[in-house]
Symmetry: C2
Subunit: 273 residues, 2 copies
């Protein structure tokens, strides 16, 4: 039987940072079955005390201490949580002191700057980018391609749409996307609307095996999903990328986060963020 352990993700605010941090750490222990409990918005001593009791209750019930992964900026709240019968790993406790020493400054102890609205301009840019991605998905409208930071192209279901949304939401990148279809492959040329924007095109490709699987979920046993269709479309798309010198990546084993970061770095957009 695998060992089990309860993990508490605690935060003054959303808890998103604590969860990202914790996930990265805990994936390093694949044999342990972690039971997750997320408690966000612990911003008063009362809430901290209620959480403390829940942690201690879990410790008693399971006869082993839980793991607490937290981003608690409020000292008073953190001191209460640290009294719990748990292994407490706090992001601030661990690193803020070192940064204060290095910078010769006190930290501001301000809450909610990371996943709050924070910098309003940056936030509005991200929301604008989400609207842009929605309005320029799947070749819907070529009218504002001049505004695009990047235009993803590739066969249907190669990962263009979710990658655009991720680039928009996380980085405020104006990302459009346009499918390559049979008509383009017959002519072995780009869709007309894309020609003036060639420098901002980025290709996504994928293995035929993965594509047929994804397409079959959408339209089972269709010509669209057949392995032969997938193979010939992918071959034509890659030929087109190579012939026109359009950079491209194989997304077969990549998550949208990995595709997004790779595109950001290969295009040089990352250095402008």
């Amino acid at each position: 039987m695998n060992p089990r352990r309860t993990v508490f993700y605690l935060s003054d605010r959303t808890g998103i940072t604590a969860e990202v941090l914790g996930k990265t750490l805990l994936t390093q222990f694949p044999t342990v079955e972690f039971r997750k409990r997320v408690i966000p918005f612990i911003d008063t001593p009362d809430k901290a005390n209620a959480t403390l009791e829940e942690i201690n209750g879990t410790a008693r019930q399971e006869s082993q201490r839980p793991i607490v992964i937290s981003t608690l900026i409020n000292d008073e709240v953190r001191w209460i949580i640290e009294k719990s019968d748990a292994l407490c790993l706090d992001l601030f406790e661990g690193f803020i002191g070192k940064l204060e020493g290095e910078l010769g400054l006190q930290s501001s102890h301000a809450l909610g700057l990371t996943h709050g609205i924070g910098n309003a301009t940056a936030y509005e840019r991200r929301m604008g980018a989400v609207n842009y991605a929605l309005g320029h998905d799947d070749g819907i409208s070529a009218s504002h391609y001049t505004e695009a930071d990047v235009i993803l192209i590739g066969v249907s279901r190669s990962g263009k749409t979710p990658t655009c949304l991720y680039l928009a939401m996380q980085y405020g990148i104006l990302a459009a996307n346009c499918p390559l279809t049979a008509d383009d492959f017959d002519r072995m040329a780009l869709p007309k609307g894309l020609v003036p924007h060639r420098a901002r095109l980025y290709g996504l490709t994928i293995s035929a095996e993965r594509l047929t699987k994804i397409r079959n979920e959408r339209r089972p046993n269709s010509q669209y999903a057949a392995i032969e269709t997938c193979r010939s479309e992918i071959r034509a798309a890659e030929d087109l990328f190579q012939r026109l010198n359009i950079p491209y990546i194989d997304t077969s084993t990549m998550s949208i986060e990995e595709i997004a970061v790779t595109v950001l770095h290969k295009t040089g957009m990352a250095s402008k963020l």
Copy 2:
């Protein structure tokens, strides 16, 4: 003049965790101007050595040591980076040792589990949820509301669409959304398609001041964006929520991340993730 400092975000993989971690830490020093340099996919000693030289070059040029925030799982790569003339804050260095002690296990040192495809089922659930959100945005289709985990309702531009996309992308939640319009307010009743799904509705409201600002960016000086229109629509929407006992939150000062986490927790969906 504000102090300036260069920050390197380094990772074996995407660097997303390092950046989230770093942002949270650095927002605590608002008077410092941080120049950011992200280097992902440092997965060989050669790449580590090239990065080391860049860090040391920056230290010489700026006559002060940079800050390195990293998630380096590969020990060899991390040891190289740690030799640099920088304040090195590594997530693994700091926490993995404590977890190994607590769990009585060695960490697996496996790369790329957090933002990679990782658990294929969970990844496909998230991608399916993104498609669902796109297909059930803005009341487009009421045909699959029975599958929805949650249906966000509110006046136009209250934050429904980006929140649904965020819930889908990060958590694999099936989130639909439907606008409340003049017709609904005249009848003071829900859109017909929503009536059978009342238990899964969640309302978003917003201040008239913020709404008029957002709408004016979209359609400047329109009746749609006028403060009076915003005020009366919001009042009617809130009346409807209260009359029908539909839970709702005010999104005026919240980011989509905060709205998403709040909805997750208030609806109890968080405990099922």
